[in-house]
Amino acid sequence: DTAVSQTPKYLVTQMGNDKSIKCEQNLGHDTMYWYKQDSKKFLKIMFSYNNKELIINETVPNRFSPKSPDKAHLNLHINSLELGDSAVYFCASSPTPVGTGFFGPGTRLTVT
């Protein structure tokens, strides 16, 4: 009965690799997000989708590409991983663009 789930929870990989993080929500929400939390715990929006349409794309390197195959899923693909990409990535969803955000458990990405 998990509301927002992410896989994997931990991801360790080498520089230059390509990786994906998957997110699924079973709350029936229309809007989904990706946030990044850096080593200083600062949280910042990366992307937002509403009904599979991209509505927010903050200043993020184009190595990061979100994909929303349907309303319940928002995946994050990262190409050519760099050391600075190491962070915790949170997926979130809300019933409307201005609704309360429900967060997934986070994916800790470590690039070596």
Binding site: T31, Y33, Y35, K41, L43, K44, I45, P105, G106
Partner: protein, 115 residues
Amino acid sequence: AQTVTQSQPEMSVQEAETVTLSCTYDTSESDYYLFWYKQPPSRQMILVIRQEAYKQQNATENRFSVNFQKAAKSFSLKISDSQLGDAAMYFCAYKSRFGNEKLTFGTGTRLTIIP
């Protein structure tokens, strides 16, 4: 652009006492939402309380309450009867009611509960 400021990087409180975490924000909008999220060591982001700017009444959730001062753009969180399980990072966040749908977070306050 909206900004959220949490001026207390760390706070501590004795168990069973009351603590207040500060948050100020800057916006030119008149209608918006404010949130407090808790992040325990498990790193799960948990919604603690939410306030709608058009409501004058301060939100309350059990031991958690806010002091929302719209004119001063202040949104503090009061935790009463602090418990060991309250130990966590606390993030204040802002969300516009119209247009820009993202949560803008403060830098967080680490709360330690002293037994």
